[in-house]
């Protein structure tokens, strides 16, 4: 029975789209691709600039937190007297851990990662934009 219908459907006329349809689809995709790359580029450029601006206050905050908690003082001990480290290494490690500037480090690392991701995004999308000139051809 199915064979009969397959034969019947073979008679069904195939509609032919306009000649330019394929080109129109490809051109629209290329245009949208370019727009998408542009939006991403602007977004990444903004994050990149913001991360540079925020980097200085993040470093300043890290320094202030490390000074206030005594992290720098404990750290300097490590380089001043080797015998002190050998005797009091446990206490010193504990003090270093306690005085570690957690928030300052987190802030600095976040800004650093944002900078790197934005930079990667800028490079990728810039390449994408250049490629979109030759896209789908």
């Amino acid at each position: 029975m199915e064979h009969e219908y397959k034969r019947l459907f073979a008679y069904l006329k195939q509609e032919v789209p306009s000649k330019g349809l394929v080109d129109r689809i490809i051109a629209t995709a290329a245009y949208k691709n370019k727009k998408r790359a542009q939006v991403k580029l602007i977004y990444n450029a903004f994050i990149f600039a913001l991360s540079i601006v925020l980097f200085i206050p993040a470093i300043q905050y890290l320094g202030r937190e490390a000074t206030q908690s005594g992290f720098f003082q404990y750290g300097s001990l490590m380089f001043s007297d080797g015998t002190v480290i050998a005797v009091f290494w446990k206490e010193l490690s504990l003090s270093l851990a306690e005085s570690f500037p957690v928030f300052g480090s987190l802030a600095t690392l976040s800004v650093g990662f944002a900078f790197l991701f934005a930079l990667r995004g800028i490079i990728t999308n810039k390449v994408g934009l250049v490629a979109s000139h030759h896209q789908f051809n």
Binding site: M1, E4, Y5, K6, R7, L8, F9, Y11, L12, K13, Q14, E15, V16, P17, S18, L21, V22, R24, I25, I26, T28, A29, K32, N33, A131, S132, H134, Q135, F136, N137
Partner: protein
């Protein structure tokens, strides 16, 4: 010669021409599928374009273990049905309800072959197209996917997101209606001539 899935992989890894190959390969199939539901040529072309743009947008989320053709036709079906819903060209219930009432009396025996005179008609293509147009949208979709686009029942079930048994029974029901309509029309026109 690359497979569809290889072309998708190539596009995702930076070969921008791979998408063009996919568009060239499938435009006619997709356009013909859309035309079975949308009578206006311009609208059908716009929908075809929309289907490919949707596919392009979601290409990165395409599961490479699946068939690209099935995936593309799923998008085609959804986009076309959405358009129909928006335009209200047909009743909502026709899209939603697969088990609608029969629109024509079932007077033809299932096992009886199609009349030979049907194949001898000059305008057989128009004849089938008209009969298809009278079928409810889900039944029409299944027949087109199965006989025109050569999908298996399993693939159609994936496209329509329906159980395979339901697809098979709808297919059977659709054939009965199609046959009934063709034989009925054929008999009337024979009587006139």
């Amino acid at each position: 010669m690359h497979t569809d899935e290889e072309l998708v992989r190539a596009y995702l890894s930076g070969d921008t021409t791979a998408f063009s190959h996919l568009v060239e390969q499938y435009t006619n199939y997709i356009y013909n599928f859309v035309r079975r539901f949308i009578t206006q040529k311009n609208d059908a072309e716009d929908i075809t374009q929309e289907i490919f743009i949707k596919a392009w947008k979601h290409l990165s989320s395409f599961d490479e273990t699946r068939s690209f053709k099935t995936w593309l036709f799923t998008i085609a079906k959804n986009t076309t049905f959405d358009y129909i819903r928006r335009k209200r060209e047909i009743l909502f219930s026709d899209i939603e309800d697969v088990h609608g009432e029969y629109w024509i009396e079932e007077s033809i025996e299932d096992s009886a072959p199609l009349p030979i005179t049907l194949f001898e008609r000059k305008e057989v293509s128009e004849f089938i197209a008209n009969a298809l147009q009278k079928l409810p949208i889900h039944e029409r979709t299944i027949l087109i996917l199965y006989y025109q686009n050569e999908f298996t029942f399993e693939e159609i079930a994936k496209i329509l997101r329906k159980p395979m048994n339901s697809v098979k029974s709808t297919h059977f029901r659709a054939l009965k209606k199609l046959k009934s309509s063709l034989v009925h029309q054929n008999a009337i026109e024979k009587r006139i001539t």
